[in-house]
């Protein structure tokens, strides 16, 4: 079969196309960076996952060690069941703590794992029992305003100190748990 210059040009054209696609895959896309090896799956229950989405990263010490698999709603406990696909190379103790964090103020949400001290390690299918929900900014703000309002209501000299302490407590620990469990914030200082 004779070769023509047209064949050469078409060959160059196709090679350029393949090179562009490879460039997109390697340099632009996450094909190389998201290569986590074989994974094992653990689940975690959250009362509120905020804006967490499937495929969101699972990080420990800031390093991506897995991805969120699927997110389901459990009608029995009214909780969100999140399955985490964690890289097989990384084993975590049974009492690992799972938090939902936000990257930056407005960034995407991800799950952070904090290792505990247990001797036994998590296996595929296990459940992480210690979790902390996503921080919902609106709830925090409304609680803060509620505290401020109750603070200005009573004029006792001791009150401001007490209520600031209560606010600090509420913000420092988990404000949502306290709010949701007894229905009202604990900050109304006597």
């Amino acid at each position: 079969m004779e070769r023509t210059t047209i064949d050469l040009w078409v060959g160059i054209f196709v090679a350029l196309g393949v090179a562009a696609l490879l460039g997109l895959a390697m340099k632009v896309g996450n094909l190389t960076t998201s290569s986590i090896g074989p994974t094992y799956t653990v689940t975690a229950n959250f009362e509120n996952i905020g804006g967490l989405k499937p495929r969101a990263p699972v990080k420990s010490a800031g390093v991506v060690i897995g991805r969120v698999g699927n997110i389901k709603f459990d009608p029995a406990t009214f909780e969100a069941v999140v399955s985490l696909n964690v890289d097989k190379r990384y084993a975590f103790p049974k009492d690992t703590f799972a938090n939902i964090y936000t990257a930056g103020l407005l960034g995407e949400q991800y799950i952070g794992l904090e290792a505990g001290g247990d001797e036994a390690m998590l296996k595929s299918g296990d459940k992480i029992t210690q979790t902390q929900d996503a921080v919902v900014l609106e709830k925090m703000i409304s609680q803060f305003l509620y505290n401020k309002a109750s603070e200005s209501k009573d004029d006792k000299p001791a009150a401001p100190a007490a209520s600031t302490k209560a606010t600090d407590d509420a913000l420092g620990s988990n404000p949502l748990d306290e709010m949701t469990k007894d229905g009202s914030p604990k900050s109304v200082a006597p």
Partner: protein
Amino acid sequence: MIRSNLLVSLVRTLRNIGHHFSDRIWRLGAGARLFWLTLISSGESFRRFHLTIREVYFTGVLSLIIIIVSAFFVGMVLALQGYNTLQKYGSSEATGVLVALSLVRELGPVVTALLFAGRAGTAITAEIGLMKATEQLSAMEMMAVSPIARVIAPRFWAGVIAMPILAALFSMIGILGGYLVAVPLIGVDSGAFWSQMQANVDWHDDIVNGVIKSVVFGVACTMIALFEGYDAPPTAEGVSRATTRTVVTSSLVVLGLDFVLTSFMITL
């Protein structure tokens, strides 16, 4: 008298509208039939692959210059505009993400298809229209050579092959253009530019979907160009009108299809 005149003009208007409408439906059906005939007689264009390669040269290789130059400028403009807005929010490093996502998802496939319709689609329509006007297609039929297998199918497959390649090149060169403006010219950090891009552009959701879009646009643009040429009245005016219609119809179909495909791909 006046009433009957009014009635006559009303009836004529109605008839014109109906004629126009039924003509469109007729052309849609004829186009679909040509598409089907092209598909079932494409065996020929693969057995004699040099015919297809020749058409890839004319539709793809010769479109390279316009694609590369416009991609370069589109990328540079995206980087300038994106940086201008993003730096107000203190996130000028996201310029790379903005350029890459808008090119890979939308502008790459769509602008390539629009340029392809203008550069290669018109050439296909004019060529086939003139072949028909000079009775070359009838001559082929007389020699028991199917013009659909010999002329239409190779051009169709050449368009379908060339479009994704051109779109991938468009995206890549656009990103390089954006890089040139953002990093050496404006001074965005080079590492942040690429790493933010890699963190936010997904292989399947963004790049593969862009390639799927460009394949669909390739089928649509090439088929419209082929049909307009094949259907053109065999006169100079007919061919010129068909060429115009190719550009108008291809552009509208590409933009409409883009919305439909995007709504399928973005799962809310």
